[in-house]
């Protein structure tokens, strides 16, 4: 992580600018950003810790609490709303047994609603990890959940151990 952060920092004349890229790197590494990780970032960059805290709590893509293995981020802004993202949210809440913002007890899924993903041409849209899934309907959502569950089962014990220890 240190090397990646240092490489990112080299792009800026001021180390403070590298806090955001560093937090993105750290979050990829640990899954989320607990206090000790924020402090580590501050130490690597040699910047004030408060500056790092400030950013970690301002921007919505940074998570200071753990999220599930798969983060389902459903857009419910206007263009998606007009194409019934609400029904999809209701369906997801029902089949996962959680409310928006919640994580399933097995830690597999976190369900969130987000502001416009900038992909309104394929509304309703959801972001899962790095991928955008558009033109969603209930059948597609069910297929996606099956796929993700299967992927989770296929993961090796080593993967699961790594995922489980992330952030500790």
């Amino acid at each position: 992580m240190r090397e990646k952060i240092e490489a990112a920092a080299a792009r800026y004349p001021d180390q403070r600018s590298a806090i955001m890229p560093a937090l993105l790197i750290a979050q990829k590494e640990y899954g989320y950003l607990p206090g000790p990780v924020l402090e580590e970032v501050a130490d690597i960059l040699g910047v004030e810790r408060i500056w790092v805290y400030e950013l970690a709590t301002f921007y919505t893509l940074f998570h200071t609490a753990p999220v599930g293995r798969f983060h389902l981020q459903l857009c419910d802004n206007v263009s998606c709303m007009l194409r019934r993202s609400e029904d999809l949210l209701g369906h997801l809440e029902a089949v996962l047994g959680i409310e928006r913002g919640g994580t399933t007890p097995d830690g597999l899924f976190t369900l969130s609603t987000v502001e416009c993903l900038g992909a309104c041409e394929m509304a309703p849209v959801m972001q899962v990890g790095d991928d955008y899934l558009g033109n969603l309907d209930i059948a597609r959502i069910d297929a996606l959940l099956d796929r993700l569950r299967a992927a989770a089962e296929q993961a090796t014990d080593a993967d699961l151990a790594a995922a489980g220890s992330a952030g500790k």
Partner: protein, 421 residues
């Protein structure tokens, strides 16, 4: 027939690769600029083209560039605004995913014009594919000598870095973007000083939208007369329109500036679903006041839409049909602005909080007869009194909904329910 230029590689397989871009004449405008023109001449060409910024405000690009002091004694910066947070807008994402070299070439020419050797592309973190494609394209351009030191044998050196955002709409506001780039919370700065004089790291900085920069190679290659020959005199050029919502063919369309909104929605985007009628259209992302059906003959350019009481904004055209509750739409829009308020100034931070509460109440059928006056009063308190245009956009949007669809608000309050449920 209008010939698309910005989207010409959209459907081409491997349109994002350098080889494809070069095969279509890519980077020849950069070569021409470096070989045949001084930086001042490029600024002049862009001024003559009358290119106006595609990020929302429509400020003339050549004029913005000419504000950069010639001798500043400091490095100059170019920032590409690829934050694209305006709901209803997705044009910049598609340029970066499918034709990133067009942007890079535009940035190189623009940087040459203003004398910048470093650029940052501020791109929203959600755009993972666009980020990957742009990274790849930057590496390819470097390897081929279109970026780096002494580009194409000239004295001009230029590098492009990507800076990923982390999910805050306000980062699209240019001065908030600068604070964010400096590693601070994204909050707008007081102007003046304008970024052209004192921007990133207190150095002269030009901030331009992705689509604006993508227009630049075409202006250099085809000449400013070509650009001015498209669309209306006051805001010419090819334009990307993002169509979404309750319309049969949502998608990205390249058409001349000044195309009638009705033609765009009904002919190009296929109109509303069968059996439905259009009720209203938001022409420029949710910051732009909506236009009721009877107003759809307005032309899609900066001046015509302003005259009609709305804005071209980001050209994020959202179509709303007659199955939709306008109170719900207005509530969702204000919820967005409330969520994204950076909190720096009171009218926006507190005003929008209050507006959201009233609107939710009205929508749920629990509104009271005084609520509409209450909303008007709140809009009055917000509009013109906020630090940046986010608060204004919210107030203008709500005012338009109240003005054109007052009967729906009234029905919610009188019937104590949503008539659409």
């Amino acid at each position: 027939m209008f010939e698309p230029v910005l989207l010409r590689n959209m459907e081409v397989p491997d349109g994002h690769l350098l080889a494809t871009y070069e095969a279509g004449g890519g980077y020849q405008a950069l070569a021409k600029a470096l070989r045949e023109h001084t930086p001042d001449e490029i600024i002049d060409l862009v001024k003559q083209s009358n290119l106006r910024g595609r990020g929302g405000a429509g400020f003339p690009t050549g004029m913005k560039w000419s504000f950069v002091p010639k001798r500043a004694g400091k490095p100059k910066y170019l920032c590409c605004n690829a934050d694209e947070g305006e709901p209803g807008t997705f044009k910049d994402r598609l340029i970066m995913e499918r034709d990133p070299h067009q942007l890079i070439e535009g940035m190189a020419i623009s940087a040459y014009a203003i004398g910048a050797e470093t650029a940052y592309v501020y791109i929203r973190g959600e755009y993972v594919l666009a980020i990957r494609r742009l990274e790849q394209a930057i590496a390819e351009a470097h390897a081929k000598g279109y970026l780096g030191t002494r580009i194409l044998g000239s004295d001009f050196s230029f590098v492009v870095h990507i800076h990923c955002g982390a999910g805050a709409y306000i980062c699209g506001e240019e001065t908030a973007m600068l604070d964010s780039l400096e590693g601070k919370r994204a909050q707008p700065r007081l102007k003046p000083p304008f970024p052209a004089v004192e921007g990133l790291y207190a150095s002269p900085t030009v901030i331009n939208n992705v689509e604006t920069l993508a227009c630049v190679p075409h202006i250099v290659a085809r000449g400013p007369g070509w650009f001015r020959g498209i669309g209306p005199e006051g805001s010419p050029g090819p334009k990307l329109y993002c169509l979404s919502g309750q319309v049969l063919k949502p998608g990205l369309y390249e058409l001349p500036m000044g195309i009638p909104l009705r033609e765009l929605v009904e002919d190009h985007a296929g109109g509303p679903p069968p059996g439905r009628k259009i009720k209203a259209v938001i022409p420029g992302g949710v910051s732009a006041p909506l236009i009721p059906e009877r107003g759809l003959d307005v032309r899609m350019d900066f001046d015509s839409l302003a005259a009609a009481g709305s804005m071209l904004g980001s050209a994020g055209v959202i179509v709303i049909d007659d199955s939709t509750c306008m109170v719900k739409v207005a509530t969702r829009i204000i919820e967005f602005f409330h969520h994204e308020s950076c909190g720096k100034c009171t009218p926006c931070r507190e005003g929008l909080n209050w507006v959201v509460k009233v609107l939710r109440r009205v929508e749920a059928g629990q509104g009271t007869p005084g609520d509409l006056e209450q909303l008007e009063a709140l809009c009055k308190g917000i509009f013109g009194n906020t630090f940046c245009a986010l608060g204004d956009g919210a107030a203008m949007g709500l005012r338009a909904a109240l003005a054109h669809f007052e009967h729906e608000f009234v029905a919610h309050i009188k019937e104590r329910r949503c008539p659409f449920h």
